[in-house]
Symmetry: C2
Subunit: 367 residues, 2 copies
């Protein structure tokens, strides 16, 4: 494997010290920031995530803050999801689209109040799009990146660990809701959410200075729970069907192609800049869509470029993420497949770096 | 050192195959794309760059294309540099600022014609800002990322190598001008430019399919010139004072703080969205500015976070890039220093990971 060259441009996080002490072995770069990818091994981290509890440095989920009288109007301009009934204290997964309906990001929007939002972004400089829209449409709103760094606590024992640090009340936070909890005299937003299917929380750490004290408090409180430093796990997130912006979808794709049509209320999302472009696709449906795909044969290598999906000698799609799953004893994968071949059970061929492998479209992800 | 985890999200380039065959040892990530940083060693690559010729995969300098009746108007909205006298065939280094005068990117603008521009970007999704501005201001212009991947040929023998592949006429291309040259029946933009002070060219490779044929043609033609695969070199670029967006400056900084005031015609750049914010700083000057700084003592490690610059017990600046220079026998560095301490010859102290080191502000970079 190849090394990563560090520089100030690849930003460290408030938790980097803890990550290094825990023996991080590999990084990726996400929003110009270091994101750990391996501690012991991808397989060992996977097993531990499913059995115990991990603390994840996901500071790279940078926030874009919208603040001011036009904040809610601007938020609705960004997404085809209807936000009218959303309450402060809720988190919504919101596809963000440009004027052609192409996906620019797939963040979680956190509604702090009517005039204040955080957008917890995937890997693209969504700040630039939002600032451009706010400027061009002359909206009365401030848009910037605040000093907020998410720290995730994930795994079956996440709730016990969180209760030990934040008190029993954290158990009452429902999925995709958040509450305010005290740490070191600081009021922090704590949401039940995260980029795994093992359950857990994301703490929006406001102020980098308390990053390591909080990291250490979680590690200390979790000793008896076998807590470890962890990170989003390639195998587990593919099993669970959690998409990765830039890998599984790009600005070429509509939300409907990404299987995110259920988050689009295109008829009523008045004000969304991509609404008109999406009306037809919302009505007729897309011609290609994300699908779970099982690939036969031995463990495939890292999918670092799209692998062609073939049928009858023709290209009918692409694989964008793949990994060997120890629990399901097959290669699990995420692909985009044309409608002629997207029905569950359809047999296809995937051109992997280790040769053409038979594969099939699955009914559901592995959850 | 830590490894890099590959995924489709960290895009490969049309030249990746050549880069791998040449034995790349480390990457950074730039515009969601792999950028090689080391082949033999940073020092060996540095020596070779100054003596021979290298071919660089800088496909990560992605292009944003502006096309349509409002393309030139939009381009002027993005930058405080006066573009009125710019001709097709010219390249301009253009600071890009938001409405507060903060730097969003420092690309090279390539004027193809009155209604068609390429913006060859540094490491941020400038596409999003430009699309947002175009949408919000309802401009009649198409904005997208075309399939154009720059390949740089840098070093004292660059002109000879380019002439061998593109013909003698390439010698007539002046600095920051471009011409159209044929390769494999394809018309390519070739500019005399590049991210080194050793001279050379950047080929805007339109169509990824001819990436490896061109790479191979350059390697073949350059055998007698000791051509090698190379990459932007940390030592050489600091010696030459070439700034790195994200390291040496961020959106917190104005162009004037970055020493780019000479590229700002703030009084006359009517239409630039950041003009009003920059008028005062253009008149009174900034209170901190980029400076070349020599750091005493042994070779410093990689500067992966800002190092405080101190004087009289107070913080007066920061170092953002640093490396040991074999040719100048000192640590060369780029820093941002407050006006109280920015005069050439001022003695300061830099808090490096190997301790506090004495240092001084230099009159010029090492060129």
């Amino acid at each position: 494997m190849t090394q990563i060259s560090l520089s100030r441009r690849l930003r460290r996080t408030p938790f980097s010290e803890g990550v290094e002490a825990a023996g991080v072995q590999a990084y990726t770069v996400y929003n110009h920031m270091l994101l750990p990818t391996v501690f012991r091994s991808v397989e060992e981290d996977y097993r531990h995530l499913k059995e115990a509890v991990q603390v994840w440095d996901v500071a790279c989920e940078r926030q874009v803050e919208l603040r001011g009288p036009d904040a809610s109007r601007l938020m609705q301009m960004l997404t085809p999801r209807d936000l009218r009934s959303m309450l402060p204290g809720q988190c919504y997964y919101v596809p963000i689209v440009d004027e052609t309906g192409g996906m620019l990001n797939d963040p979680v929007a956190v509604k702090l109040s009517e005039d204040r939002w955080w957008v917890s972004i995937a890997d693209s400089d969504l700040l630039y799009w939002i600032k451009g829209i706010a400027n061009g449409w002359r909206l009365d709103v401030l848009v910037d990146e605040p000093d907020v760094s998410p720290l995730a606590v994930q795994g079956p024992r996440a709730e016990d660990l969180m209760a030990a640090v934040f008190g029993e009340a954290v158990r009452d936070v429902r999925f995709f809701r958040f509450g305010h909890f005290d740490f070191a005299g600081r009021d922090l937003v704590v949401a039940r959410s995260g980029y795994s299917k093992q359950g857990g929380f994301e703490i929006y750490v406001e102020g980098g200075d308390i990053g390591m004290p909080l990291w250490n408090a979680l590690m200390e409180a979790g000793q008896s729970m076998d807590v470890r430093a962890g990170c989003p796990n390639l195998i587990e997130r593919i099993e669970g069907g959690l998409l990765s912006y830039g890998s599984d979808m790009t600005d070429d794709n509509t939300p409907h192609e990404c299987g995110l049509g259920r988050f689009c209320d295109t008829q009523i999302a008045i004000g969304c800049v991509g609404r008109d472009a999406l009306l037809r696709v919302a009505k007729e449906g897309p011609v290609q869509q994300i699908r779970p795909i099982a690939i036969d044969g031995p463990a495939v290598p890292i999918c670092d470029q799209w692998w062609p999906v073939m049928a009858g000698g023709k290209r009918v799609g692409r694989i964008s993420s793949a990994a060997w799953s120890p629990d399901f004893n097959t290669n699990v994968a995420i692909g985009m497949v044309r409608m002629t071949h997207w029905d569950a059970g359809t047999e296809i061929t995937v051109q992997t770096p280790i040769g053409a492998q038979s594969a099939r479209v699955m009914e559901t992800f592995w959850i």
